[in-house]
């Protein structure tokens, strides 16, 4: 709407109607938070008790018991292997999935939906739930862990890679199509070089995440350091649990350092 007066003196970012609407949204959000806080059943005595409980637990953990360290370290290595193998397989498997899940490269509508279905189903299930499933299929152990991490990673890598494919500069693609190159050669020469940086960044990031996720797989029997941690907690062996927690912390920090270094070297 155009004002009749060509040079009015008053200006407001929002009309009164817009202002009311914004206020209503704000009020609704505040009410939703209050409602969700009151609907959960909190036993406040336990919350106020928490500092003492923490001090007590800490007291039982100190000093950490390092007698079992050799076996802890060997299981820690197993944890790293689960993460690395699963990431490597997931990276390879997610390439075709990303290709059919990207709108500009997918062959047809059916493959686009297939690709999206794979991505969504992989991503909507948590690693631990995948692990429970695969422990039931493969039995307890490292294989279930690898497959679980792999299934979760395919969605993550495939989604980010698919988005990278959708955001490429289309002009080189047009130029190479004009030379009479086949679809495959156009992909290799015009699309692959453009998504390479994202590919490496995503693969390294996912390895970093998988390292952390594989430390909890043992809780459901899918291999790795989690098994030792759970048995230590189950037997109230808090001093050994402390050692396990410290070594997980060391592993995660180390993983962070390695992935930062890789990022710098590769990208």
């Amino acid at each position: 709407m155009v004002s009749m007066d060509p040079t009015p003196q008053e200006w407001a970012r929002y009309t009164p109607r817009e202002r009311m609407l914004r206020f209503a949204v704000f009020l609704f959000t505040a009410l939703a938070i209050v409602w969700s806080l009151t609907s959960i059943d909190v036993i406040w005595a336990w919350v106020f008790d928490a500092p003492q409980q923490m001090a007590d637990l800490f007291g039982r953990m100190v000093p950490p018991d390092a007698r079992n360290l050799p076996s802890i370290l060997s299981v820690l290595l197993e944890t790293v292997n689960i993460a690395t193998i699963a990431t490597a397989i997931a990276v390879v498997v997610s390439l075709p999935v990303a290709y059919i899940a990207a709108q500009n490269t997918t062959p047809n509508a059916a493959t686009l939906w297939l690709g999206r279905f794979i991505l969504v189903s992989s991503r909507s299930v948590n690693t631990i739930i995948w692990a429970l499933l695969f422990v039931a299929i493969f039995g307890p152990g490292i294989i279930a862990g690898i497959v679980a991490i792999m299934f979760r990673s395919i969605g993550f890598i495939g989604k980010l890679l698919g988005e990278a494919i959708e955001e490429i500069d289309k002009r080189p693609v047009e130029a190479l199509e004009a030379t009479g190159a086949s679809r495959f050669k156009v992909i290799v020469y015009a699309i692959v070089p453009q998504v390479m940086p994202t590919f490496w960044a995503v693969a390294i990031l996912r390895w970093d995440i998988n390292l952390r996720e594989s430390t909890v797989l043992g809780l459901v029997g899918a291999g790795g350091i989690g098994i030792i941690l759970q048995s230590a907690i189950d037997t109230f062996n808090w001093q050994e649990a402390a050692t396990v927690l410290l070594s997980i912390l060391a592993l995660v920090v180390l993983g962070e350092v390695v992935s930062a270094w890789l990022r710098k070297r590769v990208i």
């Binding site: 030379t179 190159a181 453009q194």
Partner: protein
């Protein structure tokens, strides 16, 4: 010899962008296509190598009916048509040599393309052409390290690597500074003579078109309204080609007051 007859292109259900266009380009000649934005110049070029699918009409290149082709036949025909682009359309992260060799993709076995095992004669041809346009020393540089003029030279060499029978240039100098732009036009004209190639150039710079081409085709709203040697392009012809507002011509102007009337 390129022969276009009764070429029509419409996008969706809209008014046609090209309205029954006829054009013949014999032998080695440099032809400029001029016209306001939206006149259909780009669409015309892209219909020739079928990056844009014509709605009807025929296009024939040296006896080969391009408009009938599909799949592998179309790809084989595209090898015979080199194209140069306004924004160069190089693959930035590949080296100059890889970009140049990508002009051979239509001929290469897939494994050679993937592993960059280019045949000896292709490598020699690449160095000869790069030497010819003055970029041979950049062979191992990444394409995004080059300046605009150098990048367009890579684009030109990529097109020549196809051993084309015709060159299409879609505003090849529009992203370049005036000096570089003249050099590229000069280069295109010289290459047309050396390789006995017809060259079709979409261009906005009419002064350059007059200076470097043998023939000027003026387009307006999907029709050719001028076709003569550069000397014949006078002020009256220019006014015809560039006059008017595209929307007005297409009959889309309903309630918009012309700018001049508003200011008066």
């Amino acid at each position: 010899m390129l022969k276009i007859s009764q070429l029509v292109k419409r996008y969706g259900n809209g008014a046609p962008v090209l309205k029954g266009l006829d054009l013949e380009v014999p032998g080695e000649s440099v032809v400029a296509i001029i016209g306001a934005s939206g006149a259909g110049k780009s669409t015309l070029l892209r219909c020739i190598n079928r990056l844009v699918e014509p709605s009807s009409g025929t296009i024939e290149l040296n006896g080969l009916m391009l408009t009938d082709l599909k799949g592998a036949g179309l790809r084989a025909a595209r090898r015979r048509i080199g194209m140069i682009f306004q924004s160069f359309n190089l693959v930035d992260r590949l080296t100059v040599m890889e970009n140049v060799q990508s002009g051979r993709l239509g001929y290469l076995p897939t494994w050679r393309a993937v592993f960059r095992r280019y045949p000896k004669e292709d490598i020699r041809r690449a160095y000869e052409l790069m030497e010819r346009v003055g970029i041979a020393h950049y062979a191992n540089k990444r394409a995004d390290e080059l300046s605009g003029g150098e990048r367009q030279r890579v684009g030109v060499v990529r097109a020549l690597m196809q051993e084309p029978e015709i060159l299409l240039a879609d505003e090849p100098t529009a992203s370049l500074d005036p000096k570089t732009s003249e050099q590229i036009m000069e280069l295109l004209r010289a290459l047309s003579r050396e390789f006995a190639l017809p060259v079709l150039i979409n261009i906005h710079n009419v002064a350059e078109a007059k200076l470097y081409t043998d023939r000027i085709v003026g387009m307006r709203y999907g029709r050719i309204i001028f076709d003569a040697e550069p000397a014949a392009l006078d002020t009256a012809a220019m006014d015809d080609i560039y006059a008017g507002v595209p929307a007005e011509e297409r009959g889309e102007m309903v309630n918009v007051t012309p700018l001049r009337a508003k200011n008066a």
